[in-house]
Symmetry: C3
Subunit: 316 residues, 3 copies
């Protein structure tokens, strides 16, 4: 693997999940693989799980992990080609990406979308600028349109908890007080299309995800119908894609409640976290045995370690 | 040891100090004990000594140390049970504590008091929420009411510098421009009650510490009287406990000066640092041979390393 | 080597460059030299290259690297002797420097100048306070008046890319929207005076550097004349030294363009980065084969590793 910025970079999902599973069984088995290699983790935005689990994954492989908060610890970056840099940006991404490549063997970067400039967000201009100018492999720690490390952890979690060969997996929109990105649902849609599951998306009208990604997936605006016989409920809020970045609804009837869960086939409840309690999901669901959000978060380490392993192996 | 959030968690102070002493003599002797273990250090507040010495202690034991500033690098946390999370808090401590437990083998956390809400502070709601929800041992890096790692370093320092079997140790209040927490004096009181010392507290009227903690300790409002024949002077400011969080006095006559020190038995001067020069203590004392604040700070490493050792040993 | 806060601390430049060259050829050859040693990196200001390359250098030597942003993560420091600390500064540098010396075997520190108080800046009051009070070797990560690690990387780069025994090296001022420090040009001047080069400085009138440093160096206000037959063009902006910290000119005719480069002897283009594109230098130069700014940045690791090596060796 030469880069990992999209679920599209996964060539064989089954093999990747199988690798993550064996890493989870023996996380320190390859603790020499990353010797004398450095992972640079660059953050433009807050992070808890991604920050800790990706560092942990690197350390498990014997890599060094250097974390940097680009906004507060470094120089403000310019992304425009040909810019006359007489403003507030002190450094062009052309130099920054090449320079970090001198010190780090793999660059991992988080950059959230603007949610106001759809075109810019869809260009993934930050991640793609690093991909373009860096001389080493680049990993997305969540970009504008995808969160692929989360998707690998999600697929691993479904694999671990499924009780039938082809489970029904439902991605449901749920209400949230703030406008949220599409990266997590986009990557979840992409990875579920690669998995052997019966996949359904449910959301209120006006909340279509990018149709390019959801093509071929069953979509319903009837949440109850979607929940019927489901084995996994994956809840997530996102802002409108068509009316870009807008909040069209905070309808509490979309909150995942114990009543809703009774419509399912004893479904497991999933969420990428952080989760707004009693907005996205009621306490009674999140605190029940049906919830697997904590083991799902735990799988972030093994997902990241599997990706780092594949990138390190490619280098040799 | 399963947790360390209070001096009350010390079962045998002599044995702990003895462990710290032997660690200090050979700090790298157990550099395999923490192999493949990760300490997560979570900070809600500034820190110099605690941040560096606890990392150093972990590294000496071969552990990985991952530091995170929760306010700026992570998500703002909700602590209320049953909250409808439609405000600014993005993640409930229930999830945060469980999630960090997936990546870290020990969680260490710093959270200062509000000094406005006495009830909330006394509940130690941050530290206790982590204790309640984390699945791994929790260490306090200073909470609302205690700073137990400091207390271990303090006890070790007294042990090292005492010249008689049962020295007289005086905790004296001293003036400061800002309202300060009670955590350091509380923990010092608790640890001195466990030590074989003649312990006296002196402070102006209105500056009683929590009487639950000071029960049985000699308290005087006459600083000179307290200093008489003292072997150790431990200076510290705290805000009023009764008139919670208020500054009742900045009386410069309580500053520790060379004149005051002449009342003692060539006492050593101690302070947890950071210290306000010429408020808490005059330059002439702090820069004299009587001051042992630097070796006291150095002992923070060995105190932390002793606690980490005991927690790691318990796990096995 | 007992400290490294100025180019003046280099006793034998050739030997240092030779050491850096051999380290670059085998960066992990001495990975036990720093075992159980800790480098503390203290930042008062933003940093990308210095932050990453110095950490990398320490890790290559088997050292632990602990990074701390003093402004946001620690206590605000007092530097005045005898201060009555009743203001916003919580800790005196006397304690801070001694305390960090308890936890770290080498202290590295970055502190930019005020550019308003010339006297204070020239005293290097931050770096020098750490030098005075620390009990371990101190390295400058860029102070008010020097950036010596950059200078070592610069000298190494000139050594690597020169095609004749005694190349002509030109330091040219170039325009910039903000007032910048003199540390980089000062250290570059100092190191070039130690190197076997034909060294010329060119800048507009009013932009003299500290004459103490430039004594004996050819200085011209005619940039074209300076560029004639040059082998290296080192561009850098600085604010006025005489009219301290002021911007006297943003004259775009001083920008390094392809036309200007044709005056040279196929010169290599150097800059310490971050660089303002199309202010300091036009895209066409920076994106050409003449530009060696990325390998120059890469050399920061080996420069730092050479300095750390010399300091570690001195300790034994």
């Amino acid at each position: 693997m030469k880069k990992f910025t999209s679920v599209d970079d996964i060539q064989d999902l089954d093999e990747l999940i199988s690798l993550a599973t064996s890493i989870k069984a023996a996380p320190f088995a390859d603790s020499e693989k990353g010797k004398n290699k450095t992972l640079g983790l660059l953050f433009f935005n807050p992070s808890l799980r991604t920050r800790l689990s990706t560092q942990k994954a690197a350390l498990n492989l014997g890599m060094n992990a250097i974390v940097m908060n680009l906004n507060t610890e470094g120089w403000s970056l310019e992304f425009e080609d040909g810019a006359v840099m007489d403003g507030s940006s002190a450094e062009h991404v052309k130099e920054a990406a090449q320079v970090v490549s001198q010190y780090c063997d793999i660059i991992a970067i988080r950059s959230f979308p603007t949610l106001t400039d759809k075109e810019k967000d869809e260009e993934e201009y930050v991640i793609n600028a690093f991909l373009k100018y860096a001389n080493v492999p680049v990993i997305s720690l969540e970009g504008s349109t995808e969160h692929p490390l989360q998707a690998v952890a999600d697929a691993l979690t479904v694999q671990e908890y499924k009780t039938i060969a082809r489970p029904k997996v439902v991605l449901t929109w749920a209400p949230h007080p703030k406008a949220l990105p599409h990266a997590v649902p986009n990557s979840f849609v992409k990875v579920m299309k690669k998995a052997d599951v019966d996949f359904v998306i449910t959301h209120p009208e006006g909340y279509n995800l990018n149709p390019e990604f959801t093509k071929g997936v069953t979509i319903t605006h009837n949440q109850d119908e979607a929940f019927a016989n489901a084995d996994f409920i994956y809840a997530k809020n996102w802002s409108s894609y068509d009316d870009y970045g807008q909040i069209l609804s905070k309808d509490p009837s979309w909150t995942v409640t114990p009543e809703k869960m009774t419509l399912t086939n004893n479904a497991k409840f999933m969420h990428c976290l952080p989760v707004r309690r009693n907005m996205i999901v009621s306490d009674a669901v999140l605190d029940s045995d049906a919830s697997i959000v904590i083991p799902q978060a735990n799988n972030r380490t093994y997902a990241a370690q599997a990706i780092l392993t594949k990138i390190l192996e490619n280098e040799k």
